[in-house]
């Protein structure tokens, strides 16, 4: 499969005769990064699949008007953050009808998940992340797993670098305490 830069993909997408071709390449280029980011947030594979589809559908609908004042992946990542948070918010609203909290449901899903085969320590790490506040979850996952710079995270989340650093610091502390104590 040919490799295109992000700018080339955007130009290809805007060519009416090659829109679908460019979109297919773009999805294949970023699908794994987007999927695993979402999966770490929502835990369940089927939920992650739904959210990922919504993300790329939004990319399809809006890429034509992409202003290129940020990097393409930063723009896609921002959509992924918004869609993941929207999903978790809707899940929280639905959980008011049930007896358990959304976090408890996600922990249970993590233990029952057929598509999780990591060691127990990995499961505990994921469980610790679930228990963090949503913003801290995002900061931790983006820094720890995706190795984004604080400047990139600041651009995506609209938060100052200092606040992001502090958020990451406290997230790491909480996770370490949870993983090592239980």
């Amino acid at each position: 499969m040919p490799e295109y830069t992000d700018n080339e993909l955007v130009e290809l997408f805007r060519d009416a005769s090659r829109t679908h071709y460019a979109f297919n390449l773009l999805v294949r280029k970023y699908q794994e990064k987007v999927y695993y980011f979402v999966r770490r947030m929502v835990i369940d594979h089927d939920d992650a699949d739904d959210v990922v589809q919504n993300i790329f559908i939004k990319v399809w609908n809006n890429l034509g008007s992409f202003r290129e004042d940020s990097k393409l992946f930063t723009w896609i990542y921002r959509i992924a953050v918004n869609e993941s948070l929207s999903f978790l918010k809707s899940k929280q609203l639905r959980s008011y009808l049930s007896l358990s909290s959304p976090e408890a449901q996600m922990v249970k899903s993590l233990h029952d998940d057929n598509y999780f085969d990591g060691p127990e320590i990995q499961r505990r790490l994921s469980e610790a992340i679930i228990k963090l506040p949503k913003k801290q979850q995002l900061v931790f996952n983006m820094r720890y797993y995706d190795d984004l710079s604080y400047d990139e995270m600041s651009e995506i989340l609209g938060t100052s670098v200092g606040a992001l650093k502090a958020s990451y610091h406290f997230a790491v502390k909480k996770i370490e305490e949870f993983v090592t104590s239980n």
Binding site: Q53, I57, F116, D117, G118, R123, Y150, V172, E176, T180
Partner: protein
């Protein structure tokens, strides 16, 4: 202060356990072929949503009074123009064929003149002939049967001549 300094200058080291876990896979896996089929499924969903949104826009637009009211008014006016108005005009507007053109060219004064002309001709014929009104008019002309022959015919066929004479 030192903590804040360390945080802002990113001097924090990750705990050992997290450093070790970072090197490994995160434990999440996907069904076989998931990523190969993701792009086609997304494209199918886009097409489905585009089709659905077009239908919804159409239905939603039709259900809005400010959309369907003018549409209905236009339909009613069109029906009136197509069916009702032509039916009324058919009684006043003649068909455009040759007979109609003759009728349209018809002038009553010519008809009256023709009638008078014919009447004058008939009067002239009558005046020119010496017609004997005392003689019975032969319906069959001069070569027809005589009265005796007729009476004989009637007797042979048992017709009552007296009754016929009465009539």
């Amino acid at each position: 202060m030192k903590l804040k300094h360390n945080i802002l200058n990113n001097n924090e080291q990750l705990p050992t356990v997290l450093q070790e876990l970072r090197k490994e896979a995160n434990g999440f896996r996907v069904p076989d072929g998931y990523f190969d089929s993701l792009s086609p499924r997304i494209v199918d969903e886009i097409k489905r949503q585009e089709h659905a949104s077009f239908s919804n826009v159409l239905v939603f637009s039709i259900r809005k009074p400010r959309v369907w009211a003018p549409v209905m008014a236009t339909v009613v006016v069109a029906v009136l123009l197509i069916f009702v108005v032509p039916a009324k005009k058919a009684s006043t507007i003649p068909a455009t064929d040759d007979w109609t053109e003759l009728n349209m060219a018809y002038d009553a004064s010519y008809a009256e003149e023709a009638f008078l002309s014919d009447s004058h001709t008939i009067d002239k014929e009558i005046e020119s002939k010496d017609i004997n009104y005392s003689e019975p008019v032969s319906l069959t002309g001069q070569n027809g049967p005589s009265a005796d022959e007729i009476a004989k015919y009637l007797n042979e066929h048992e017709y009552d001549a007296i009754l016929l004479n009465e009539y």
